[in-house]
């Protein structure tokens, strides 16, 4: 179960100063203690395996820096189930009790930070938002597909962040209000962009997208959704919308979407990503087609 590197032989230098008799006795004692410990561990593992209130996790392991882990493999963890336990809880339990080298990202544990998007039982989900009771056993936990694995469940997010930044994901406008005024948004307009503001940058959509997997330059659902959030914001003004559409209607922009709905299906915040992409496609057409 444990994937740690084989333990180093204990340092014997401290034992040299004591008498040979005591040394022997100590060695025997240590041996006995070790055997007992081993037995206890085996018993605990056996109990965990046979108990019916445990969950069987199969977790992807890979570490290019450790010799025994360079070849990717799956480790089995049997985690005692508590009501309301999520995949993240189970991973943390496994890390704390079985293998402290098990690596994964997590932070807030309430689906806001977007750190723990994982590939659980064949679909991209947030570990903290996925109840173990909703999954069939064994629960297969893998790092997000279509990204380089750094270690265990951690993937390299750099490309995703680059794409997010490419659409200028911040508010810009040329029409600032008067000095003592607020930049107000109508309720209707806020309602329009409401869902798109919920993105937590978890990269689940990008990982699920078949097109993004094949075309590295494709902006991806999350970035387009981010662009939607600002392009549809009326406070940004017409010329800024024009600028945003110019970014989006490039070859690797909105037109790469082939409406597989994979992103919409995996989005942990239920953002209608495909709908937003389609709306931006229509905006782009309206922008370029003028009959008058």
């Amino acid at each position: 179960m444990s994937t740690q590197v084989p333990e180093q032989v204990e340092d014997e230098s401290s034992a040299e100063s004591v008498s040979p008799g005591k040394q022997k006795r100590d060695a025997k004692k240590r041996e006995r203690a070790e055997r007992l410990q081993e037995q206890r561990e085996a018993e605990a593992a056996e109990k965990a395996r046979t108990a019916d209130d445990t969950y069987h996790l199969k977790v992807f392991r890979y570490d290019p820096e450790v010799e025994g882990k360079q070849e990717p493999r799956f480790d089995d963890f049997y985690v005692p189930y508590k009501q309301g336990m999520t995949v993240l809880d189970a991973l943390m339990w496994a890390r704390d009790h079985y293998d402290s080298s098990l690596t994964f990202r997590h932070s807030c544990r309430q689906a806001i930070c977007g750190s723990d998007a994982l590939f659980v039982n064949g679909s991209q989900r947030l570990g903290c938002k996925t109840q173990l009771s909703d999954l069939s056993e064994p629960v297969r936990v893998e790092p997000l597909p279509h990204a380089d694995v750094v270690k265990d469940l951690v993937v390299d997010m750099e490309h995703f962040y680059d794409q997010m930044e490419a659409v200028e994901p911040y508010f810009q406008t040329n029409s600032l209000p008067a000095e003592d005024e607020e930049q107000r948004q109508t309720r209707e307009n806020r309602e329009k962009v409401k869902m798109s503001t919920r993105c937590i940058w978890c990269s689940a959509c990008m990982s699920s997208c078949n097109i993004a997997a094949g075309d590295n330059e494709y902006l991806g659902p999350a970035a387009i959704n981010k662009a939607y959030r600002f392009a549809m914001d009326e406070r940004e003004g017409e010329d800024m919308k024009q600028r945003r559409l110019e970014i989006l209607e490039q070859e690797h922009g909105v037109w790469r979407c082939q409406t597989q709905f994979s992103c919409t299906e995996v989005c942990p915040k239920d953002i209608p990503l495909t709908e937003h992409i389609q709306e931006l496609k229509r905006e782009a057409i309206k922008n370029n087609l003028k009959f008058w």
Binding site: P64, H146, T259, F261, P272
Partner: protein, 131 residues
């Protein structure tokens, strides 16, 4: 993205059991599209061999129709065309932003409708056309 090692079935078609409705719709649409393109070229090529008059044309058609395998392939062609048309309509609605929350249901509906039409057409096709 470059892969530093092989992650097995994670990245490829081996996970087809986990594909969702929208994904299947996309795959079938691509597949049927290519079949139709292939058919179109064969269609033109075969019929261009019989352009010398009315009689050779009729002979070619009758010779083709007399083959059971051609009649079975015609059922397949109908299935492919009907699905492509129905899913094309579905995609039209998706492009217009209409009923995106029901996209999976409309995919299943187009599958079922394709099945019904194809099954209903089997007797006609297998009996052959009497010209």
């Amino acid at each position: 993205m470059s892969q530093s090692y092989n992650r097995g079935l994670i990245e490829d078609f081996g996970r087809w059991r986990e594909f969702s409705a929208g994904m299947w719709a996309w795959i079938f649409h691509k597949f049927t599209g290519w079949v139709l393109v292939g058919y179109l070229f064969t269609h033109i090529a075969v019929l261009s061999t019989a352009l010398s008059g009315a009689a050779p044309y009729t002979n070619t058609i009758q010779a083709l129709e007399s083959l059971l395998v051609v009649r079975i392939l015609e059922v397949g062609l109908l299935a492919v065309a009907v699905f492509h048309i129905l899913n094309g309509l579905r995609l039209l609605f998706v492009d217009l932003g209409v009923g995106l929350e029901a996209q999976d249901k409309s995919f299943y509906a187009s599958l079922i409708l394709t099945g019904v039409i194809v099954v209903a057409s089997v007797p006609t096709f297998l009996a052959g056309v009497s010209i």
